[in-house]
């Protein structure tokens, strides 16, 4: 009887350890965010994670995959982020210059107050689509570690290039322009 109880206890312990290993493996396999930028840098064009988020600039929601067929410049920002303020006019410029060529600029506002985000958009006269993710639940999927970050997606929703930090610097402007061209060509 005692040996049977011991066997059961050992079985339960082994089962728990196995469960922990499975959970660890699952979390590692699903944590593709950090790999997204690295894979794009290797030229792999990984698929961007889809999301559906409420819009800040109008009523309703926006699903990223609904933009397939167009190139997308996805900019992750927050109103309290200083580099976001610096690059905002440049993003608006990109939107106005390339929207007729099939590029959609999407501003993904995260970890912010809706009211602050709307004031920011008004202050910088942003006219491109803005979506809101207060808790920042979509950020892990993209491997976002700071603000701002920008992802250029091709017409099939794959990441062409990722940019950490503001994209309005002289060096980055050229890289971004090249990435947009590659995204539009697809």
């Amino acid at each position: 009887m005692a040996s049977r109880a011991r066997l059961v206890a050992q079985g339960v312990a082994i089962g728990l350890v196995a469960l922990l290993f499975i959970l660890l493996a699952w979390s590692l396999l699903n944590d593709e965010g950090g790999d997204l930028a690295a894979a794009a840098a290797r030229g792999d064009r990984p698929a961007a994670p889809d999301f559906t988020l409420e819009r800040l600039d109008e009523n309703g929601e926006l699903q990223l995959s609904s933009l397939q067929g167009k190139a997308v410049l996805l900019n992750v920002w927050a109103s309290w982020c200083i580099p976001c303020k610096e690059e905002a006019p440049f993003l608006e410029e990109i939107w106005r210059e390339n929207r007729d060529r099939g590029l959609v600029v999407v501003g993904l506002n995260a970890k912010d107050f809706r009211a602050d985000a709307r004031k920011f958009a008004e202050r910088f006269d942003l006219t491109f689509p803005l979506v809101y993710d207060g808790p920042g639940e979509t950020l892990d999927g993209f491997g976002v570690t700071g603000f701002p970050e920008t992802f250029v997606l091709d017409r099939e929703g794959r990441v062409v290039e990722a940019f950490a930090g503001a994209v309005d610097g002289d060096d980055t402007r050229e890289r971004l322009a090249a990435a947009i061209e590659r995204a539009l060509e697809t």
């Binding site: 927050a78 309290w80 982020c81 970890k111 912010d112 107050f113 809706r114 602050d116 207060g134 808790p135 920042g136 639940e137």
Partner: protein, 147 residues
Amino acid sequence: MTRAVALAVVLGALAAGVATAAPPNAADLEAELVCPVCETTLDQSTAPVAERMKTFIRVRIAAGDSGQDIKDALVAEFGTEVLAEPPGGGFGLLAWLLPLGALGAGLVVVAVLVRRWSRRGSGDADDEQLDPELERLVDDELARFDG
């Protein structure tokens, strides 16, 4: 006597009213809410969004909101992760129940082990007989040690 009781009831009701109407304390709320960027409580954070949240709390207190109203407003913006203590219902209940369950399971394991060891300890005392030859050797060694 009746007047004294009535007065006590009125005073008690007034005190309760004052207590419920007391404005929430900003420092308390800052200790109960988490910065969504650095994931420490607001009182430990100087991140820009944390500073913005602190301002929000003070403005809402000045506007007469209760502590719960303020927390609800912040949850509506940043999600339940903004609460330092998980909510007491739904999935958040697990955060409360799991440690209690683990503690209970640990106590059961300790109780079973203690019982088993105490049994084994008493069994050893009864069963263990020293070999006479070994006993003689021990006595000899002890005598040599004393000498």
